[in-house]
Amino acid sequence: MMRLSLSLLLAATPALAENPAVPVFVPDTGGLTHSFTGEWEYMVGGGVAAFDCSGDAQPDLFLAGGTAPATLWRNDSIDGLAFHKIDSGAELTGVTGAWPLDFDSDGQTDLAVMRQGENVLLRGLGACRFERANEAWGFDGGQAWSTAFAATWEAGQSLPTLAVGNYIDPGEEAFPWGSCTDNWLHRPEGTRYGAPIALSPSFCALSILFTDWNRSGRPALRVSNDREYYKGGQEQLWHLDPGQPPRLYTEGEGWQRLRIWGMGIASHDLNMDGLPEYFLTSMADNKLQALKNPGDSPLLPRYDDVAFARGVHAQRPYMGGDIHPSTAWHPQFEDVNNDGRTDLFIAKGNVSAMPDFAQQDPNNLLLQRADGTFYEAGEAAGVASMLQARGGAVVDLNGDGWLDLVVVNRNGPTEIWRNTGLAPEAAPANWIALDPRQPAPNLHAVNGWVEVRANGVTQRREILVGGGHGSGQLAPQHFGLGAATEAEVRMIWPDGAADDWQRLTAGQVWRLPRGAAAEPATTPQE
């Protein structure tokens, strides 16, 4: 061969295994109307929190509004989607994102609301009503441009440890570059939070996540930073040792310098080796990080970028003819076709008016093939919106076992697609959803691991609060099962204790109480 064409070279990768079945998504806002609005001060953010605050086991939606008030929509779906806006006490302006969590372990889900200005913790009162809890919990909301949030429970604490990611100083008009505001770590002191600890140096975080990357039982804090604004910065991983100040992983410990336009983190054990991989959204090529040497002891946080090899680099629009590179925001790993292989959704959209990046930038829905590569199904599935997407949620809104999709767009309407499943002739696609619960604190077992054995493989998910872009979900952990009609399930709790395996039937949500047999959870239809 005399000369090799680039287009042929690119077409040759990744490997072409049989393409997965594509689920059909139909637009269905269920009456929800909302926009995340604003100009420069709201070019990032625009998240959605999906969680049940009404007690009917269906995820309700809290949407960041930017210059407009945030809104909370009760989910009254039965088959088709239906939402009703309610007065929640959470109608704050300046909201960039929100994450749900039961901070005080009272059984009512609370909200961490990140803002352009003071961040607010909202205590859930039931019936989707909330009240400000900063003062009651001793939480200093600061006055920064906050864009990211994560939570974990440190041993012996009744309240979770919180990390807040902050962006640039909006007051720096002519020279904003290098003005990254410190991220904050909020550690509890008894039943209240102590003074925030600056996570210095900070490099304009847009996503932040406590994750047990090495399965040590002690989550570390991963921070994805926007290189557009930092100087001397890079991606970060912080040690969070009991009773010790947070401390950065160093090159000597294996951490490798990576500088991207970090915008979102998604985590999943894609290769089923018990260790999480990390997807990092950026501009142009996105990153999928897998440990270089997963067999080492001790493990070093050295990662290979396997995005190109597995076909998830998602570098430019796959339809619409815009040749410019993409801009990626909220990523989320979920199995949207219930074939037992986790898929990847990526919200896409131009920052604002960046002419060297795609203006017509469709969201990605990347379905995993049997060989571990991914197939772009955004257009075929019907979710290839060209609006300026930011945050999102892949979550079962109507309890039918098919994960639906919410996308928050900047200066455009929020879009919701209902997943209607596969064509009738498709292979069986069963599912199971698991809702672990343990006694207070940390009722929802954050940073515990759910394991599901079926079809000869073990799928695992770490229960996380954080990551994404401006968006978090507190919902049962969903697993596709393909042809399997039952699965073996067990929970590894955050303290490392593992329950026994138990066999459960597919097609429903199960409550997993610690140390006890699973119970069918109430489903919305009931």
Binding site: L9, W177, I323
Partner: protein
């Protein structure tokens, strides 16, 4: 034409003939004009870093156009002392003259010119850059217009605007005006054979090399793109003991045994696009620091910015002509193929052919021009990357800085020695062409 070492030495010596250090008679507003010029340029360094199309060759062209704009504004205000580069720089015609009967204020004229020029060259920057340009325009308008009669202010701004538009029109057909897909062709055929460049990154755009047609751009001071061409690099060979293999082993061993100082040097001159002001911006930053330290008169600064900009712009044209003539593979490709499949360079390997080193070529040109302006053994400190946490480095001369910039590519594992040494020689040749331009008379 191919350069030989003897030939280059002759060029260097001719470049060292002292240039006049005259400046036009001082204008009472020169200090303000200098402030306007320096402040806009500080913003430009950030815009280069944060505008997606600004790879080093593109940045160099913008610096040349901006420098020319500033110089021609000031030349027009004192034609008896300052000589326009029209008629000297290729295809540049005389810019509009100011209304000499009424005069124009240098600070306001520079502000008028740079406002128009920077908005043009960075029209594609993102929303933060656009916001910063607006803020800077407002801030410097107050400074530049302070105390001026309204008609003088208007007249001065218009003069600056007219000169900027003249340079923009001149540059529009030089081949570098439009950058598609950040400079990476959508279709590209790799040259057959083991000696030739292949992609070194997993980034999709970088499966094709950067700006393969850049050498067809119109040079500014060089006669032609190949006026400073180079002989071929050592012939490709995988045979141990061959000149090519020896150079590869040198890169391999150097990177494996880097001293802390060598690591700092490699990172100091890394100057990655989108993470720094790029190699051209690094030299502009050096000049701005000197101007600040020595309170350089505004016309001498504008002269130096124009010459330096032209030199680095032409250096990239010359360099790119040679790069695509030989289309040589990068050390990482060869070393992994022949020596050690797991080898990692310290720096990110740039996505285009290896020979010669772009940083070496443009640093050689920059050093030649700045030496001609400021003299040999002109010591200075370089704090370009202080904000990024890298230490200030001190140099005894521009040549010493250029040598260090060049060898940093060996420490970084991204260039063979031939590319470094011959790159410096190529730069000296380009610098000599620029040094023939006359600005003060």
């Amino acid at each position: 034409m191919f350069l030989t070492r003897r030939h280059v030495t002759g060029l260097l010596l001719s470049a060292l003939a002292p240039l006049p250090t005259l400046a036009a008679p001082a204008h009472p507003r020169d200090a303000v004009a200098g402030q306007v010029l320096q402040t806009w340029y500080r913003l430009v360094l950030e815009l280069v870093r944060h505008t997606a199309t600004y790879s080093p060759p593109v940045a160099a062209r913008a610096f040349a156009c901006l420098g020319l704009t500033a110089w021609e504004v000031l030349a027009g205000l004192a034609p008896a002392a300052r000589k326009s580069l029209a008629g000297q720089v290729t295809a540049l015609t005389p810019p509009p003259a100011p209304d000499t009967a009424e005069g124009a204020d240098p600070a306001a004229a520079l502000h008028g010119a740079l406002t128009v020029a920077i908005k043009h060259y960075f029209g594609n920057t993102g929303p933060t850059g656009q916001r910063a340009m607006r803020a800077m325009e407002t801030r410097l308008a107050e400074l530049a217009g302070e105390g001026l009669p309204p008609d003088t202010l208007t007249r001065s701004l218009e003069h600056g605007r007219d000169v900027a538009l003249h340079i923009i029109a001149w540059a529009r057909d030089d081949g570098g005006e439009t950058i598609e897909n950040m400079g990476f062709p959508l279709e590209w055929s790799l040259t057959d054979g083991p000696a030739h460049w292949v992609p070194t990154s997993k980034i999709v755009q970088q499966q094709a090399p950067l700006l393969p047609s850049w050498a067809s751009n119109r040079p500014m001071a060089m006669a032609r793109a190949d006026a400073c061409g180079l002989a071929a690099p050592p012939a490709y060979s995988e045979e141990p003991g061959s000149p090519f293999h020896i150079e590869a082993v040198e890169v391999y061993e150097t990177v494996r045994n880097l001293t802390p100082e060598q690591k700092i040097i490699a990172r100091f001159w890394s100057d990655d696009p989108m993470l720094s002001p790029t190699p051209p911006g690094h030299w502009i930053s050096i000049l701005l620091e000197i101007a600040d330290r020595d309170a350089l008169p505004v016309d001498r600064l504008a002269d130096a910015l124009a010459r330096l900009g032209i030199a680095i712009s032409d250096a990239f044209i010359a360099c790119w002509q040679t790069k695509y003539q030989y289309d040589l593979l990068r050390p990482v490709t060869y070393i992994r193929r022949v020596i050690d499949k797991d080898w990692e360079p310290l720096l990110i390997t740039p996505p285009f052919p290896e020979y010669p080193s772009g940083h070496s070529s443009q640093s050689g040109a920059a050093a030649a021009v700045l030496t001609a302006i400021f003299g040999e053994n002109f010591a200075f400190d370089d704090a370009t990357h202080e904000d990024d946490g890298l230490p200030v480095r001190s140099f005894s001369s521009f040549a010493a800085a250029a040598d260090e910039a060049a060898v940093s590519r060996l420490y970084g594992g991204i260039h063979f020695r031939s590319a470094i040494e011959r790159g410096l020689e190529q730069g000296a040749c380009v610098g000599a062409a620029v040094n023939r331009l006359v600005t003060f008379q």
